[in-house]
Protein backbone atom coordinates (compact mmCIF):
# COMPACT_ATOMS: atom_id res chain seq x y z
CA UNK A 1 0.00 0.00 0.00
CA UNK A 2 1.46 3.33 -1.06
CA UNK A 3 1.60 6.25 1.30
CA UNK A 4 -1.88 7.80 1.63
CA UNK A 5 -0.39 11.24 1.03
CA UNK A 6 1.05 10.13 -2.32
CA UNK A 7 -2.18 11.10 -4.07
CA UNK A 8 -1.91 14.60 -2.61
CA UNK A 9 1.70 14.86 -3.76
CA UNK A 10 0.70 13.80 -7.29
CA UNK A 11 -2.11 16.36 -7.26
CA UNK A 12 0.32 19.11 -6.22
CA UNK A 13 2.76 18.06 -8.94
CA UNK A 14 0.17 18.15 -11.73
CA UNK A 15 -1.44 21.33 -10.41
CA UNK A 16 1.99 22.99 -10.62
CA UNK A 17 2.53 21.74 -14.16
CA UNK A 18 -0.87 22.99 -15.31
CA UNK A 19 -0.31 26.45 -13.80
CA UNK A 20 3.16 26.78 -15.32
CA UNK A 21 1.91 25.54 -18.67
CA UNK A 22 -0.96 28.01 -18.78
CA UNK A 23 1.32 30.92 -17.86
CA UNK A 24 3.91 29.91 -20.45
CA UNK A 25 1.35 29.45 -23.23
CA UNK A 26 -0.25 32.83 -22.49
CA UNK A 27 3.20 34.43 -22.50
CA UNK A 28 4.32 32.87 -25.79
CA UNK A 29 1.13 32.69 -27.85
CA UNK A 30 -1.03 35.58 -26.62
CA UNK A 31 -0.97 38.84 -28.66
CA UNK A 32 0.37 41.91 -26.79
CA UNK A 33 -0.91 45.39 -27.61
CA UNK A 34 -0.13 47.60 -24.60
CA UNK A 35 -1.78 51.01 -24.38
CA UNK A 36 -1.81 53.68 -21.64
CA UNK A 37 -5.47 52.99 -20.86
CA UNK A 38 -4.77 49.29 -20.31
CA UNK A 39 -1.98 50.15 -17.86
CA UNK A 40 -4.26 52.15 -15.59
CA UNK A 41 -5.40 50.70 -12.23
CA UNK A 42 -8.90 49.26 -12.38
CA UNK A 43 -11.44 51.20 -10.33
CA UNK A 44 -14.75 49.58 -11.28
CA UNK A 45 -14.76 51.15 -14.72
CA UNK A 46 -14.20 54.79 -13.66
CA UNK A 47 -11.03 56.53 -14.67
CA UNK A 48 -8.84 56.73 -11.57
CA UNK A 49 -8.29 60.09 -9.87
CA UNK A 50 -5.60 60.93 -7.33
CA UNK A 51 -3.13 58.73 -5.52
CA UNK A 52 -4.32 55.50 -3.89
CA UNK A 53 -1.95 56.02 -0.96
CA UNK A 54 -3.66 58.78 1.00
CA UNK A 55 -3.58 59.26 4.76
CA UNK A 56 -6.57 58.06 6.74
CA UNK A 57 -7.50 59.60 10.08
CA UNK A 58 -6.43 57.30 12.90
CA UNK A 59 -10.04 57.39 14.14
CA UNK A 60 -10.99 54.75 11.56
CA UNK A 61 -8.70 52.23 13.23
CA UNK A 62 -10.36 52.79 16.58
CA UNK A 63 -13.80 52.27 15.07
CA UNK A 64 -12.61 49.15 13.25
CA UNK A 65 -11.17 47.78 16.49
CA UNK A 66 -14.37 48.42 18.43
CA UNK A 67 -16.40 46.85 15.64
CA UNK A 68 -14.21 43.76 15.73
CA UNK A 69 -14.63 43.32 19.49
CA UNK A 70 -18.39 43.68 19.54
CA UNK A 71 -18.74 41.63 16.37
CA UNK A 72 -16.97 38.71 18.02
CA UNK A 73 -19.28 39.11 20.99
CA UNK A 74 -22.29 38.53 18.75
CA UNK A 75 -20.63 35.54 17.05
CA UNK A 76 -20.18 33.91 20.46
CA UNK A 77 -23.88 34.29 21.15
CA UNK A 78 -24.88 31.97 18.24
CA UNK A 79 -23.46 28.64 19.48
CA UNK A 80 -24.73 29.46 22.94
CA UNK A 81 -28.23 30.16 21.63
CA UNK A 82 -28.29 26.83 19.77
CA UNK A 83 -27.17 24.84 22.81
CA UNK A 84 -29.21 26.95 25.24
CA UNK A 85 -31.37 24.08 26.55
CA UNK A 86 -28.48 21.69 27.02
CA UNK A 87 -26.28 24.21 28.81
CA UNK A 88 -29.10 25.15 31.15
CA UNK A 89 -28.89 27.72 33.92
CA UNK A 90 -25.09 27.51 34.16
CA UNK A 91 -24.76 28.45 30.52
CA UNK A 92 -27.04 31.42 31.09
CA UNK A 93 -24.95 32.60 34.04
CA UNK A 94 -21.72 32.14 32.09
CA UNK A 95 -23.06 34.11 29.15
CA UNK A 96 -24.21 36.77 31.61
CA UNK A 97 -20.67 37.09 32.95
CA UNK A 98 -19.28 37.22 29.42
CA UNK A 99 -21.69 39.97 28.42
CA UNK A 100 -21.06 41.86 31.66
CA UNK A 101 -17.33 41.98 30.93
CA UNK A 102 -18.06 43.25 27.41
CA UNK A 103 -20.46 45.86 28.75
CA UNK A 104 -17.71 47.07 31.07
CA UNK A 105 -15.49 47.35 28.01
CA UNK A 106 -18.22 49.28 26.24
CA UNK A 107 -18.64 51.69 29.17
CA UNK A 108 -14.87 52.13 29.23
CA UNK A 109 -14.76 52.95 25.51
CA UNK A 110 -17.70 55.32 25.88
CA UNK A 111 -16.36 57.23 28.86
CA UNK A 112 -12.92 57.53 27.28
CA UNK A 113 -14.55 59.21 24.27
CA UNK A 114 -13.73 56.47 21.77
CA UNK A 115 -17.20 56.77 20.24
CA UNK A 116 -16.99 60.50 19.55
CA UNK A 117 -16.00 61.36 16.02
CA UNK A 118 -14.83 64.94 16.50
Amino acid sequence: MADPYLAVAILFFFAGIVVLALLLIAEKVGPKKPSPVKGEPFESGNSPKGDARIRFPVKFYLIAMLFLIFDIEVVFLYPWAILFRRLGILGLVEMGIFLLILVIGFIYAWRKGALEWE
Partner: protein, 479 residues
Protein backbone atom coordinates in the same frame (compact mmCIF):
# COMPACT_ATOMS: atom_id res chain seq x y z
CA UNK B 1 -22.32 17.32 33.70
CA UNK B 2 -21.00 18.66 36.98
CA UNK B 3 -18.82 21.72 36.56
CA UNK B 4 -16.41 22.54 39.32
CA UNK B 5 -15.36 26.16 39.27
CA UNK B 6 -13.18 26.21 42.41
CA UNK B 7 -9.90 25.98 40.45
CA UNK B 8 -10.80 29.25 38.75
CA UNK B 9 -11.04 31.20 42.01
CA UNK B 10 -7.64 32.97 42.15
CA UNK B 11 -7.73 33.93 38.47
CA UNK B 12 -11.36 35.06 38.76
CA UNK B 13 -10.54 37.19 41.79
CA UNK B 14 -7.70 38.96 39.98
CA UNK B 15 -9.92 39.54 36.92
CA UNK B 16 -12.66 40.97 39.11
CA UNK B 17 -10.17 43.36 40.72
CA UNK B 18 -8.91 44.42 37.28
CA UNK B 19 -12.45 45.15 36.08
CA UNK B 20 -13.19 47.09 39.26
CA UNK B 21 -10.07 49.19 38.79
CA UNK B 22 -10.92 49.82 35.15
CA UNK B 23 -14.47 50.90 35.97
CA UNK B 24 -13.56 53.04 38.99
CA UNK B 25 -10.87 54.80 36.97
CA UNK B 26 -13.62 56.22 34.77
CA UNK B 27 -15.55 57.79 37.62
CA UNK B 28 -12.82 58.90 40.02
CA UNK B 29 -11.42 62.42 40.00
CA UNK B 30 -7.75 62.87 39.16
CA UNK B 31 -6.67 63.42 42.78
CA UNK B 32 -8.50 60.29 43.95
CA UNK B 33 -6.71 57.98 41.52
CA UNK B 34 -4.16 56.95 44.15
CA UNK B 35 -6.96 54.88 45.61
CA UNK B 36 -6.76 52.47 42.66
CA UNK B 37 -3.36 51.16 43.75
CA UNK B 38 -4.83 50.14 47.09
CA UNK B 39 -7.76 48.34 45.47
CA UNK B 40 -5.30 46.43 43.29
CA UNK B 41 -3.12 45.54 46.29
CA UNK B 42 -6.18 44.37 48.27
CA UNK B 43 -7.40 42.26 45.35
CA UNK B 44 -4.00 40.64 44.91
CA UNK B 45 -3.71 39.94 48.63
CA UNK B 46 -7.19 38.35 48.63
CA UNK B 47 -6.26 36.16 45.67
CA UNK B 48 -3.03 35.17 47.44
CA UNK B 49 -5.10 34.21 50.49
CA UNK B 50 -7.40 32.10 48.31
CA UNK B 51 -4.44 30.34 46.73
CA UNK B 52 -3.08 29.70 50.21
CA UNK B 53 -6.29 28.04 51.38
CA UNK B 54 -6.60 26.00 48.18
CA UNK B 55 -3.12 24.52 48.76
CA UNK B 56 -3.17 20.76 48.42
CA UNK B 57 -6.18 20.71 46.12
CA UNK B 58 -5.95 18.36 43.16
CA UNK B 59 -9.02 19.64 41.39
CA UNK B 60 -9.41 20.12 37.68
CA UNK B 61 -11.96 22.13 35.75
CA UNK B 62 -13.34 22.06 32.21
CA UNK B 63 -12.43 18.41 31.51
CA UNK B 64 -9.03 18.88 33.12
CA UNK B 65 -7.87 21.63 30.80
CA UNK B 66 -7.24 23.56 34.01
CA UNK B 67 -5.50 21.74 36.86
CA UNK B 68 -5.19 23.52 40.17
CA UNK B 69 -2.41 21.42 41.68
CA UNK B 70 0.23 22.65 44.12
CA UNK B 71 2.47 23.44 41.16
CA UNK B 72 -0.06 25.94 39.82
CA UNK B 73 -0.63 27.39 43.29
CA UNK B 74 3.10 27.80 43.91
CA UNK B 75 3.44 29.80 40.70
CA UNK B 76 0.24 31.71 41.44
CA UNK B 77 1.79 32.93 44.69
CA UNK B 78 4.96 34.03 42.85
CA UNK B 79 2.91 35.97 40.27
CA UNK B 80 0.70 37.60 42.88
CA UNK B 81 3.67 38.56 45.05
CA UNK B 82 5.51 40.02 42.06
CA UNK B 83 2.48 42.00 40.92
CA UNK B 84 2.03 43.31 44.45
CA UNK B 85 5.63 44.49 44.76
CA UNK B 86 5.44 45.98 41.26
CA UNK B 87 2.37 48.01 42.17
CA UNK B 88 3.91 49.17 45.45
CA UNK B 89 7.01 50.40 43.65
CA UNK B 90 4.99 52.00 40.83
CA UNK B 91 3.02 54.48 42.95
CA UNK B 92 5.82 57.04 43.11
CA UNK B 93 6.83 56.40 39.48
CA UNK B 94 3.33 57.06 38.16
CA UNK B 95 3.18 60.38 40.00
CA UNK B 96 6.42 61.55 38.37
CA UNK B 97 5.46 60.54 34.82
CA UNK B 98 2.07 61.03 33.27
CA UNK B 99 1.23 57.40 32.75
CA UNK B 100 -2.50 56.83 33.27
CA UNK B 101 -2.76 54.89 36.49
CA UNK B 102 -6.13 53.20 35.92
CA UNK B 103 -5.10 51.34 32.78
CA UNK B 104 -1.64 50.70 34.23
CA UNK B 105 -2.89 48.82 37.29
CA UNK B 106 -5.67 47.08 35.36
CA UNK B 107 -3.20 45.80 32.75
CA UNK B 108 -0.84 44.50 35.43
CA UNK B 109 -3.78 42.62 36.94
CA UNK B 110 -4.97 41.28 33.57
CA UNK B 111 -1.54 39.97 32.67
CA UNK B 112 -1.29 38.39 36.12
CA UNK B 113 -4.53 36.54 35.34
CA UNK B 114 -2.96 35.27 32.13
CA UNK B 115 0.06 34.00 34.04
CA UNK B 116 -2.08 32.19 36.60
CA UNK B 117 -3.88 30.42 33.75
CA UNK B 118 -0.56 29.53 32.12
CA UNK B 119 0.71 27.88 35.29
CA UNK B 120 -2.54 25.94 35.75
CA UNK B 121 -3.04 24.99 32.09
CA UNK B 122 -2.98 21.28 31.36
CA UNK B 123 -4.02 21.92 27.80
CA UNK B 124 -1.92 23.57 25.12
CA UNK B 125 -4.80 25.77 23.94
CA UNK B 126 -5.45 27.13 27.43
CA UNK B 127 -1.72 27.63 27.86
CA UNK B 128 -1.66 29.63 24.64
CA UNK B 129 -4.64 31.74 25.73
CA UNK B 130 -2.99 32.47 29.08
CA UNK B 131 0.23 33.40 27.30
CA UNK B 132 -1.60 35.80 25.00
CA UNK B 133 -3.54 37.42 27.86
CA UNK B 134 -0.26 37.96 29.66
CA UNK B 135 1.69 39.14 26.62
CA UNK B 136 -0.85 41.60 25.25
CA UNK B 137 -1.03 43.29 28.66
CA UNK B 138 2.74 43.52 28.90
CA UNK B 139 3.11 44.83 25.31
CA UNK B 140 0.89 47.77 26.21
CA UNK B 141 2.54 48.32 29.59
CA UNK B 142 5.92 48.54 27.84
CA UNK B 143 4.75 51.49 25.76
CA UNK B 144 2.72 53.16 28.52
CA UNK B 145 4.99 56.16 28.90
CA UNK B 146 4.07 57.64 25.55
CA UNK B 147 6.31 60.70 25.66
CA UNK B 148 9.43 58.52 25.62
CA UNK B 149 10.53 57.47 22.13
CA UNK B 150 12.40 54.49 23.57
CA UNK B 151 9.21 53.21 25.17
CA UNK B 152 7.31 53.20 21.88
CA UNK B 153 10.24 51.55 20.14
CA UNK B 154 10.46 48.90 22.85
CA UNK B 155 6.73 48.20 22.74
CA UNK B 156 6.79 47.83 18.95
CA UNK B 157 9.82 45.53 19.05
CA UNK B 158 8.35 43.46 21.85
CA UNK B 159 5.03 43.16 20.06
CA UNK B 160 6.53 42.10 16.72
CA UNK B 161 8.99 39.62 18.23
CA UNK B 162 6.35 38.34 20.64
CA UNK B 163 3.85 37.79 17.84
CA UNK B 164 6.54 36.01 15.83
CA UNK B 165 7.36 33.73 18.79
CA UNK B 166 3.68 33.04 19.37
CA UNK B 167 3.47 31.94 15.76
CA UNK B 168 6.09 29.26 16.41
CA UNK B 169 4.29 28.11 19.52
CA UNK B 170 0.91 27.92 17.85
CA UNK B 171 2.26 26.10 14.81
CA UNK B 172 3.92 23.62 17.15
CA UNK B 173 0.64 23.08 18.97
CA UNK B 174 -1.09 22.51 15.62
CA UNK B 175 1.48 19.90 14.55
CA UNK B 176 1.28 18.10 17.90
CA UNK B 177 -2.51 18.09 17.64
CA UNK B 178 -2.24 16.75 14.10
CA UNK B 179 -0.08 13.84 15.21
CA UNK B 180 -1.66 12.94 18.54
CA UNK B 181 -5.26 14.08 18.07
CA UNK B 182 -5.33 16.02 21.32
CA UNK B 183 -4.20 19.28 22.87
CA UNK B 184 -4.51 17.88 26.38
CA UNK B 185 -1.03 17.44 27.84
CA UNK B 186 -1.87 14.26 29.75
CA UNK B 187 -3.18 12.63 26.58
CA UNK B 188 -0.21 13.83 24.52
CA UNK B 189 2.29 12.40 26.99
CA UNK B 190 0.27 9.16 27.08
CA UNK B 191 0.50 8.99 23.30
CA UNK B 192 4.24 9.69 23.44
CA UNK B 193 4.80 6.93 26.01
CA UNK B 194 2.88 4.42 23.87
CA UNK B 195 4.94 4.82 20.73
CA UNK B 196 8.23 4.57 22.54
CA UNK B 197 11.18 5.73 20.41
CA UNK B 198 9.13 5.63 17.21
CA UNK B 199 7.42 8.98 17.26
CA UNK B 200 6.09 10.35 14.02
CA UNK B 201 8.23 13.17 12.66
CA UNK B 202 5.21 15.47 13.04
CA UNK B 203 5.29 15.25 16.85
CA UNK B 204 9.00 15.91 17.03
CA UNK B 205 8.67 18.93 14.73
CA UNK B 206 5.80 20.17 16.92
CA UNK B 207 7.84 19.71 20.10
CA UNK B 208 10.70 21.70 18.57
CA UNK B 209 8.40 24.53 17.51
CA UNK B 210 6.92 24.78 21.01
CA UNK B 211 10.51 24.69 22.28
CA UNK B 212 11.45 27.70 20.10
CA UNK B 213 8.31 29.61 21.09
CA UNK B 214 9.06 29.19 24.78
CA UNK B 215 12.77 29.93 24.31
CA UNK B 216 11.77 33.29 22.81
CA UNK B 217 9.67 34.12 25.84
CA UNK B 218 12.47 33.55 28.35
CA UNK B 219 15.04 35.29 26.12
CA UNK B 220 17.32 32.26 25.74
CA UNK B 221 20.45 32.65 23.65
CA UNK B 222 19.75 32.80 19.93
CA UNK B 223 16.40 34.44 20.69
CA UNK B 224 17.62 37.03 23.20
CA UNK B 225 18.13 40.08 21.00
CA UNK B 226 14.90 41.77 21.98
CA UNK B 227 15.53 41.57 25.74
CA UNK B 228 17.93 44.49 26.36
CA UNK B 229 16.07 46.99 24.15
CA UNK B 230 12.66 46.08 25.53
CA UNK B 231 13.81 46.04 29.15
CA UNK B 232 15.55 49.39 28.76
CA UNK B 233 12.65 51.10 27.01
CA UNK B 234 9.90 49.87 29.33
CA UNK B 235 8.98 51.81 32.48
CA UNK B 236 11.32 50.54 35.22
CA UNK B 237 8.65 48.88 37.43
CA UNK B 238 7.40 47.02 34.35
CA UNK B 239 10.95 45.90 33.55
CA UNK B 240 11.07 44.31 36.99
CA UNK B 241 7.65 42.75 36.44
CA UNK B 242 8.75 41.34 33.07
CA UNK B 243 12.05 39.96 34.24
CA UNK B 244 10.40 38.15 37.16
CA UNK B 245 6.75 37.33 36.51
CA UNK B 246 6.73 36.95 32.72
CA UNK B 247 9.86 34.83 32.91
CA UNK B 248 8.43 32.73 35.74
CA UNK B 249 5.26 32.16 33.71
CA UNK B 250 7.27 30.96 30.72
CA UNK B 251 9.28 28.69 33.02
CA UNK B 252 6.03 27.30 34.41
CA UNK B 253 5.44 26.21 30.82
CA UNK B 254 8.94 24.75 30.57
CA UNK B 255 8.46 22.83 33.81
CA UNK B 256 4.98 21.48 33.16
CA UNK B 257 5.26 20.84 29.42
CA UNK B 258 8.89 19.85 28.94
CA UNK B 259 10.30 18.63 32.25
CA UNK B 260 7.13 16.77 33.17
CA UNK B 261 4.90 15.86 30.22
CA UNK B 262 7.44 15.68 27.39
CA UNK B 263 10.04 13.89 29.53
CA UNK B 264 9.56 10.79 27.36
CA UNK B 265 11.03 12.61 24.36
CA UNK B 266 13.77 14.17 26.47
CA UNK B 267 16.64 12.87 24.35
CA UNK B 268 15.16 14.87 21.45
CA UNK B 269 15.08 18.29 23.14
CA UNK B 270 17.59 17.68 25.94
CA UNK B 271 20.76 18.08 23.88
CA UNK B 272 19.86 21.38 22.17
CA UNK B 273 18.61 22.74 25.47
CA UNK B 274 21.87 21.76 27.12
CA UNK B 275 23.80 23.84 24.58
CA UNK B 276 21.25 26.64 24.88
CA UNK B 277 21.68 26.80 28.67
CA UNK B 278 25.46 27.13 28.39
CA UNK B 279 25.32 29.74 25.63
CA UNK B 280 22.54 31.74 27.30
CA UNK B 281 24.33 32.23 30.59
CA UNK B 282 27.73 32.87 29.01
CA UNK B 283 26.45 35.38 26.45
CA UNK B 284 24.28 37.13 29.05
CA UNK B 285 27.15 37.52 31.48
CA UNK B 286 29.74 38.60 28.90
CA UNK B 287 27.46 41.28 27.45
CA UNK B 288 26.40 42.49 30.90
CA UNK B 289 30.02 43.39 31.70
CA UNK B 290 30.14 45.82 28.78
CA UNK B 291 27.10 47.89 29.83
CA UNK B 292 27.24 51.43 31.19
CA UNK B 293 23.57 51.58 32.24
CA UNK B 294 22.54 49.63 35.31
CA UNK B 295 19.09 48.98 33.85
CA UNK B 296 20.62 47.48 30.72
CA UNK B 297 23.06 45.50 32.84
CA UNK B 298 20.10 44.06 34.76
CA UNK B 299 18.49 43.13 31.42
CA UNK B 300 21.55 41.13 30.38
CA UNK B 301 21.82 39.68 33.85
CA UNK B 302 18.24 38.47 33.48
CA UNK B 303 19.31 36.67 30.27
CA UNK B 304 22.14 35.04 32.24
CA UNK B 305 19.70 33.98 34.96
CA UNK B 306 17.44 32.43 32.31
CA UNK B 307 20.53 30.37 31.42
CA UNK B 308 20.95 29.22 35.04
CA UNK B 309 17.26 28.34 35.20
CA UNK B 310 17.57 26.24 32.04
CA UNK B 311 20.04 24.05 33.96
CA UNK B 312 17.09 22.96 36.07
CA UNK B 313 15.07 22.15 32.95
CA UNK B 314 17.93 20.10 31.48
CA UNK B 315 18.58 18.28 34.76
CA UNK B 316 14.90 17.41 34.83
CA UNK B 317 12.90 15.06 37.06
CA UNK B 318 12.47 15.83 40.74
CA UNK B 319 15.87 17.42 41.56
CA UNK B 320 15.83 19.67 38.49
CA UNK B 321 12.15 20.57 38.70
CA UNK B 322 12.12 21.51 42.36
CA UNK B 323 15.45 23.39 42.05
CA UNK B 324 13.93 25.34 39.15
CA UNK B 325 10.87 26.27 41.21
CA UNK B 326 12.98 27.25 44.20
CA UNK B 327 15.29 29.39 42.07
CA UNK B 328 12.33 31.25 40.57
CA UNK B 329 11.09 32.00 44.08
CA UNK B 330 14.56 33.11 45.20
CA UNK B 331 15.12 35.17 42.04
CA UNK B 332 11.92 37.22 42.50
CA UNK B 333 12.78 39.36 45.58
CA UNK B 334 16.36 40.16 44.61
CA UNK B 335 15.50 41.27 41.07
CA UNK B 336 12.42 43.25 42.08
CA UNK B 337 14.47 44.85 44.86
CA UNK B 338 17.24 45.88 42.46
CA UNK B 339 14.69 47.53 40.15
CA UNK B 340 13.03 49.24 43.14
CA UNK B 341 16.36 50.80 44.19
CA UNK B 342 16.82 51.93 40.59
CA UNK B 343 13.40 53.58 40.89
CA UNK B 344 14.47 55.41 44.03
CA UNK B 345 17.10 57.23 41.97
CA UNK B 346 14.49 58.60 39.59
CA UNK B 347 14.15 62.32 39.85
CA UNK B 348 11.21 63.98 38.13
CA UNK B 349 11.23 63.27 34.40
CA UNK B 350 14.79 62.03 34.51
CA UNK B 351 15.57 58.32 34.82
CA UNK B 352 18.94 58.00 36.51
CA UNK B 353 20.11 54.61 35.43
CA UNK B 354 23.81 54.76 34.65
CA UNK B 355 26.58 53.48 36.91
CA UNK B 356 27.74 57.07 37.45
CA UNK B 357 24.38 58.04 38.91
CA UNK B 358 24.96 55.44 41.61
CA UNK B 359 28.18 57.15 42.77
CA UNK B 360 28.01 57.94 46.47
CA UNK B 361 24.44 56.71 46.96
CA UNK B 362 25.64 54.28 49.65
CA UNK B 363 27.07 57.13 51.70
CA UNK B 364 24.19 59.58 51.24
CA UNK B 365 21.40 57.02 51.74
CA UNK B 366 22.81 54.19 53.86
CA UNK B 367 19.61 52.14 53.70
CA UNK B 368 19.41 52.17 49.88
CA UNK B 369 23.14 51.38 49.69
CA UNK B 370 22.75 48.43 52.03
CA UNK B 371 19.68 47.10 50.19
CA UNK B 372 21.30 47.42 46.75
CA UNK B 373 24.46 45.70 48.06
CA UNK B 374 22.34 42.81 49.33
CA UNK B 375 20.54 42.46 45.98
CA UNK B 376 23.76 42.65 43.97
CA UNK B 377 25.57 40.13 46.19
CA UNK B 378 22.57 37.84 46.05
CA UNK B 379 22.34 38.06 42.25
CA UNK B 380 26.05 37.25 42.06
CA UNK B 381 25.43 34.25 44.33
CA UNK B 382 27.13 35.11 47.59
CA UNK B 383 26.12 33.16 50.70
CA UNK B 384 24.01 33.44 52.83
CA UNK B 385 21.58 35.17 50.43
CA UNK B 386 18.77 33.68 48.36
CA UNK B 387 20.78 33.78 45.11
CA UNK B 388 23.34 31.48 46.67
CA UNK B 389 20.90 28.85 47.93
CA UNK B 390 19.03 28.95 44.62
CA UNK B 391 22.18 28.41 42.58
CA UNK B 392 23.43 25.79 45.01
CA UNK B 393 20.37 23.61 44.50
CA UNK B 394 20.34 24.19 40.73
CA UNK B 395 23.98 23.11 40.36
CA UNK B 396 23.43 20.24 42.76
CA UNK B 397 20.51 19.00 40.64
CA UNK B 398 22.76 19.16 37.57
CA UNK B 399 25.42 17.04 39.29
CA UNK B 400 22.86 14.55 40.62
CA UNK B 401 21.45 14.09 37.12
CA UNK B 402 24.91 13.64 35.65
CA UNK B 403 25.42 17.04 34.02
CA UNK B 404 28.58 18.00 35.90
CA UNK B 405 29.70 20.20 33.00
CA UNK B 406 26.63 22.41 33.41
CA UNK B 407 27.37 22.87 37.11
CA UNK B 408 30.99 23.80 36.41
CA UNK B 409 30.13 26.25 33.63
CA UNK B 410 27.37 27.70 35.82
CA UNK B 411 29.81 28.26 38.69
CA UNK B 412 32.38 29.87 36.36
CA UNK B 413 29.63 32.13 35.02
CA UNK B 414 28.68 33.21 38.54
CA UNK B 415 32.29 34.17 39.03
CA UNK B 416 32.16 36.20 35.81
CA UNK B 417 28.99 37.96 36.94
CA UNK B 418 30.71 39.19 40.13
CA UNK B 419 32.58 41.72 37.95
CA UNK B 420 29.54 43.76 37.01
CA UNK B 421 27.49 43.25 40.16
CA UNK B 422 30.32 44.44 42.39
CA UNK B 423 30.87 47.47 40.15
CA UNK B 424 27.58 48.88 41.43
CA UNK B 425 28.69 48.46 45.05
CA UNK B 426 32.09 50.00 44.32
CA UNK B 427 30.38 53.01 42.71
CA UNK B 428 28.00 53.41 45.63
CA UNK B 429 30.62 53.44 48.36
CA UNK B 430 33.92 54.51 46.83
CA UNK B 431 32.97 57.34 44.50
CA UNK B 432 31.21 60.66 44.79
CA UNK B 433 29.05 62.89 42.66
CA UNK B 434 26.05 60.76 41.76
CA UNK B 435 22.42 61.80 41.99
CA UNK B 436 20.32 62.47 45.04
CA UNK B 437 18.02 59.51 45.75
CA UNK B 438 14.42 59.95 46.89
CA UNK B 439 14.03 60.07 50.69
CA UNK B 440 11.58 57.85 52.56
CA UNK B 441 9.09 60.68 53.05
CA UNK B 442 8.64 61.19 49.30
CA UNK B 443 8.21 57.56 48.28
CA UNK B 444 7.13 55.52 51.29
CA UNK B 445 5.61 52.63 49.30
CA UNK B 446 8.79 52.19 47.31
CA UNK B 447 10.74 51.82 50.56
CA UNK B 448 8.19 49.29 51.83
CA UNK B 449 8.73 47.28 48.63
CA UNK B 450 12.50 47.43 49.11
CA UNK B 451 12.17 46.27 52.74
CA UNK B 452 9.98 43.32 51.66
CA UNK B 453 12.51 42.43 48.96
CA UNK B 454 15.41 42.59 51.43
CA UNK B 455 13.53 40.36 53.88
CA UNK B 456 12.76 37.89 51.08
CA UNK B 457 16.34 37.81 49.84
CA UNK B 458 17.87 37.34 53.27
CA UNK B 459 15.10 35.04 54.52
CA UNK B 460 15.26 32.62 51.60
CA UNK B 461 19.03 32.57 51.96
CA UNK B 462 19.17 31.88 55.69
CA UNK B 463 16.10 29.65 56.09
CA UNK B 464 15.50 27.93 52.76
CA UNK B 465 14.24 24.62 54.23
CA UNK B 466 10.54 25.38 54.20
CA UNK B 467 10.52 27.00 50.75
CA UNK B 468 12.58 24.10 49.43
CA UNK B 469 10.20 21.47 50.70
CA UNK B 470 7.29 23.50 49.28
CA UNK B 471 8.90 23.64 45.84
CA UNK B 472 9.57 19.90 46.02
CA UNK B 473 5.95 19.19 46.94
CA UNK B 474 4.78 21.52 44.15
CA UNK B 475 6.85 19.81 41.50
CA UNK B 476 5.76 16.35 42.65
CA UNK B 477 2.09 17.39 42.52
CA UNK B 478 2.29 17.45 38.71
CA UNK B 479 0.20 14.71 37.16
Amino acid sequence: METNLTPLLPAAEVTLTALTVLLLDLFLREEEKGFLAWISVTGLALAAGMAFFLWGSQEGAFRNTLLLDDFALFFTEIFLGTALLTILSSIHYLRETNIRSGEYYALILFSTTGMILMAAANDLILFFLGLETMSVGVYILTGMWRERVEASEAAMKYFLIGAFATGFLLYGIALIFGATGSTNLTRISFFLSLSFHQWPLLVIAGVYLVFIGLAFKIGAFPFHFWVPDVYEGAPTPITGFMSVAVKAAAFAGWARIFVHQFSVVEHEWGVPLHALAILTMTVGNLLAIAQSSVKRMLAYSSIAHAGYLLIGVVAGKEPGGSALLFYLLAYAPMTLGAFAVLLALKDGEKDNESYDDFAGVGLKRPFLGMAMSIFMLSLAGFPPLSGFTGKFYLFRSAIVSGYTDLAIIGALNSLLSVIYYLRVIVKMYMEQGGVEAQPFAKAPCLYVAIVIAVLGTVGLGLLPARALSLSGVSYLSLR
